[in-house]
Structure formats: structure tokens, C-alpha cells
């Protein structure tokens, strides 16, 4: 466990050299897993997460089925070695809550009505955690859903905003998350409809408004990266299948 730094922002630069409104580097790999119907591996700073989607598929036990649409299910899990102190395998209160809010982040965008009685299962595994695993997981899951061909209104993009040294900053790194003043994870669609919103810490109303606006620009950047990853994949497949000749 590191110590609280004296300052988080020095000469306009954060501890890892980023500007206040700058995201950590993001790397996306689509379809790394072939058993799942869709999957995505995503690195975000030092976070490493993988998401897989199965479905629509039969839902058991039957009494959990919904006659009028698919049931979206989500399991967010951290590998026992993904953090400094080993985590006991199995669900924790934290992971149960995060699984729930992630599920609800997608219920609006998935066209569940097309698939009554089925389940759409989203699995997120955190292999290496830095701050922001839930938002990293959402971004990966969003792409895994697309990769699985699940019909959606659009992608969901997520990032956190927070407050350190009295300033609103984008995409908290671990020290900022642990010792900062506030953390606000946000997920939204490309037309800025918020599907996940949580808040930890303490902020004034004005600060909070600034934070949401900053989250909007962060999510827009993430959305562009997600879109680009999908375009590249389909370009590659198109060419692999013979391009115009097909």
C-alpha cells in the first residue's frame, strides 16, 4: 500500500504525466476467446480486463425467464491475483453490487424484446486491476456484445471522473482513486444518455456538474476508440473474405 502523495497535480501534470482531461492509454483486442459468442480484451492504463458474452441462450431455471424479453445477466469478477493483496475466490459484496450496476448500464441499449425467454450473459474478468475496473469492464463488455452480434441501440462507453487537489480530473489512476476526494464512474451512450452513475467522496454541486461534463468528453473519446476497433475488425474480415469480389 503506497502512501498518500503530497500533491496530485504539479505544474498542471498528474503523477503519471497526464493532463487533467486526459485518459490513460487504451488498447483493445476483439474476439480473443472463441468459446464465447463475443469477447473483448481491453487494457486501460495498467488495468487488464476481458469480457465475454454468451447468448441469447436458454435461461435456467425456467421461473427466471421473462416471457416478453431476454434477461440480461452480468458477473463481474476479479482474479485472485489481480491486486496486491490476494482476493479470496468467489463473489464479494463489492462484486455483487458492481455486477448489478453494470448489468443495468446495458439493459437500456440491448434490444431484449427480440429474444423472449432467453438470457444474455455478460462476464467480465479483471486480470490486473488499477483504478477504474468497472468502467474498463463496461467498455470491454460493450464491444463483446457487439462482437456477439447482439442487437443494440448503440455502444455504451464509460469512464470515471474525480476530484484531487480540489480539481476535477478525468480517469483516476490508483493513487488518485485511493487518496483523492471523490470518484464518479459514469457510463453513457454516444448521445450522452447516462446508463451508469455512481459517486464516492465529497463534491459541491458545481464541481459535480463540471465532473459530468468532463465525463461526457471522456466517454466520447472512449466511444471513438470502440468504434474504430469495430471498424477495423470488420474491415479485416471483409478483406479476408475477398473484399469486393465476395
Amino acid at each position: 500500500m503506497s502512501e498518500k502523495p503530497e500533491h496530485f497535480i504539479i505544474d498542471g501534470k498528474r503523477l503519471d504525466g497526464r493532463r487533467r482531461d486526459e485518459l490513460r492509454p487504451i488498447k483493445i483486442e476483439l474476439s480473443p476467446l472463441d468459446r464465447a459468442d463475443g469477447s473483448c480484451y481491453l487494457e486501460w492504463g495498467r488495468n487488464k480486463v476481458v469480457a465475454a458474452v454468451y447468448g441469447p441462450r436458454e435461461l435456467h431455471p425456467r421461473h427466471r425467464q421473462n416471457m416478453t424479453g431476454a434477461v440480461v445477466q452480468c458477473r463481474y469478477n476479479m482474479a485472485s491475483f489481480s491486486v496486491d493483496e490476494r482476493i479470496r475466490p468467489g463473489p464479494s459484496r463489492r462484486s455483487v453490487e458492481i455486477s448489478k450496476v453494470i448489468r443495468q448500464a446495458f439493459e437500456h441499449v440491448v434490444f431484449t424484446k427480440f429474444f423472449p425467454k432467453t438470457a444474455i450473459d455478460i462476464y467480465i474478468e479483471v486480470l490486473r486491476a488499477d483504478a477504474g475496473t468497472r468502467t474498463a469492464g463496461i467498455n470491454a463488455a460493450s464491444l463483446a456484445l457487439a462482437d456477439a452480434g447482439i442487437p443494440m441501440r448503440g455502444l455504451v462507453s464509460a469512464c470515471a471522473v474525480g476530484k484531487v487537489d480540489g480539481e476535477i480530473v478525468l480517469d483516476l489512476m490508483k493513487e488518485e482513486d485511493n487518496f483523492g476526494d471523490a470518484d464518479v464512474p459514469v457510463a453513457m451512450t454516444s448521445d450522452n444518455r447516462i446508463t451508469l452513475l455512481q459517486m464516492d467522496g465529497r463534491m459541491t454541486t458545481e464541481e459535480f456538474y463540471k465532473a459530468l461534463e468532463l465525463a461526457k468528453t471522456g466517454c466520447t473519446t472512449v466511444y471513438e476508440l470502440q468504434r474504430q476497433a469495430l471498424v477495423e475488425k470488420y474491415d479485416n474480415e471483409y478483406q479476408a473474405e475477398g473484399g469486393l469480389d465476395e
Partner: protein, 262 residues
């Protein structure tokens, strides 16, 4: 009953409430920003180190605090620990089942917990007995007796009321004299639901069931925000969120003045 959620009756009720909203009304005649009747009775249970019985309309719950010496977390060796637990016991609703807490109960407990913790209402460093070895553990157990809707707000009121009423039982553990638990702020979580394009505070059970989405906002005495949680599938726009924050601040301030700053 819960199996009836998708039935014709549910449809009819939904339509009825929707039509009321169009007219700016609620089924029980309240204004959109009006709470149901609140009572908070502290010192309800003398085996607890602090307690509060809360009624919020038909909702009834009991919060009991137990303070015990125990080990600190390894990453905060000089701080006491708060553990918030909620029991949605089957006595309180035909929809609750016996067994370990489910998703919903865990979420409520964690939201109430963060509201208290993040507001820094309790100075956890004052709960250290011997650094790295022994600190005071504060168990906040929320026992729901009747679910009439909006458990979160009732639990939030009950938790802080009970904490304000809590004594650290140092004498019982040969650790000096009993002292009141030092509470520095009065955080309150307020739930707003969205339905038919309107925002409403303090949802009744029926309103809760048909809400498209809801947003819980915890605010402090100085109006600052110390917690937020969006529930439900429908999305919210930034301006809606800001409007809800304003409603929550006003309502929390009223409740705080009427019931908690005595």
C-alpha cells in the same frame, strides 16, 4: 404476487399512475417533491449502543448499532471500521425471502454505507484504540419491518439518527469511560424516481414498481454531495441529474432540520 408484475393488473395500475402524472398528481395526493409522514424514535432498543425506529409512510424499519472492539483493516491500521448491514427479512414483505442478502439488499447497504463513510461524518481516526491492533467496530444493522416503499431513504435517516444516538461502550470493555460517538455531519440519502418524464421524491411501493429509473443522492449539511447511485434501466440526461440533485438537497435539508438537528 410478485408473479403478477407482468399481468393485466400491473398494466392497468401503470396506466392509472401515468394518467395521474400527466395531471401533475400522485395517487396519495402528494406533490412531486413531497415526502410521506416521517417519525424517528431514537433509543428504541436498550441492548443496542444506539438505535432508531423510523416510519416513512407505511415503511417501518429499526436500526440498531453495536460497537465492539476488533481488528482494523490492514490498510487503515489507525481507523475504526463501519459495517452497514441490511436485513430484508421475509416478515417485511411478501416479496422477501429468507436466506443470505441478495443483490438488492447488498446494494442498499453499500449505498447507505458510502453515504455515511464518504461524508466523513464519523471521524474514524477517533475510533482507534491501539494502532494496528484494536479499533472500535461500528455495526449498523438495519432491520426492515414493513416495506412500504423507499427503504433507502428510511434506512439512511435511521442510520444517522441511530449513530447520533450512539454511545461507545468503553466501560463495558475496560477501555475507559463511555463517550458519545463523535458525529460531525448529517448525511442523508434521498431517492428520486423518474416516471412519465417527471421526477418524484419518496416513491411509494406502487410508484417504485413502475419507475423507469431512480437516482439516489446523498447530501450533507453544507449541501455538498457525498454519494450517488443510479438504479434501473432507463437512462438519464445530465440536466435531469442536476435537477434531481437540487431536489435531494432541499428535501434532505428539511428532514435534517425537522428530525435530526435537535
Amino acid at each position: 404476487m410478485s408473479s403478477g408484475d407482468n399481468t393485466v393488473m400491473a398494466e392497468v395500475q401503470r396506466d392509472h399512475l401515468f394518467n395521474l402524472v400527466l395531471k401533475g398528481e400522485r395517487a396519495d395526493g402528494r406533490a412531486f417533491d413531497e415526502f410521506r409522514e416521517i417519525t424517528i424514535e431514537t433509543d428504541a432498543i436498550d441492548t443496542a449502543d444506539g438505535s432508531a425506529m423510523v416510519t416513512l409512510g407505511d415503511t417501518k424499519l429499526l436500526v440498531g448499532i453495536k460497537v465492539q472492539p476488533g481488528e482494523p483493516f490492514s490498510d487503515t491500521p489507525d481507523k475504526g471500521v463501519i459495517i452497514v448491514n441490511i436485513e430484508l427479512i421475509p416478515l417485511a414483505s411478501p416479496d422477501y425471502e429468507a436466506g443470505p442478502p441478495r443483490e438488492g439488499a447488498i446494494e442498499i447497504a453499500r449505498v447507505v454505507d458510502r453515504g455515511i463513510r464518504e461524508s466523513k461524518s464519523i471521524d474514524l481516526t477517533k475510533l482507534c484504540i491501539t494502532e494496528g491492533e484494536k479499533v472500535w467496530i461500528i455495526f449498523v444493522d438495519i432491520h426492515v419491518l414493513n416495506n412500504g416503499g423507499n427503504i433507502v431513504d428510511a434506512a439512511s435517516m435511521g442510520a444517522i439518527a441511530a449513530l447520533l444516538n450512539t454511545t461507545i461502550p468503553a466501560a463495558r470493555h475496560d477501555l475507559g469511560e463511555d463517550t458519545p460517538l463523535p458525529v460531525r455531519d448529517i448525511p442523508l440519502a434521498v431517492t428520486t424516481i423518474e416516471f412519465g418524464g417527471e421526477m418524484m421524491l419518496d416513491p411509494s411501493l406502487d410508484e417504485e414498481k413502475i419507475a423507469s429509473t431512480s437516482l439516489i443522492v446523498a447530501t450533507n449539511t453544507d449541501g455538498s454531495i457525498s454519494g450517488m447511485q443510479k438504479l434501473g434501466a432507463e437512462p438519464l440526461m445530465i440536466d435531469q441529474v442536476m435537477r434531481v440533485i437540487g431536489m435531494a438537497q432541499t428535501a434532505a435539508s428539511d428532514i435534517r432540520k425537522k428530525f435530526l438537528e435537535v
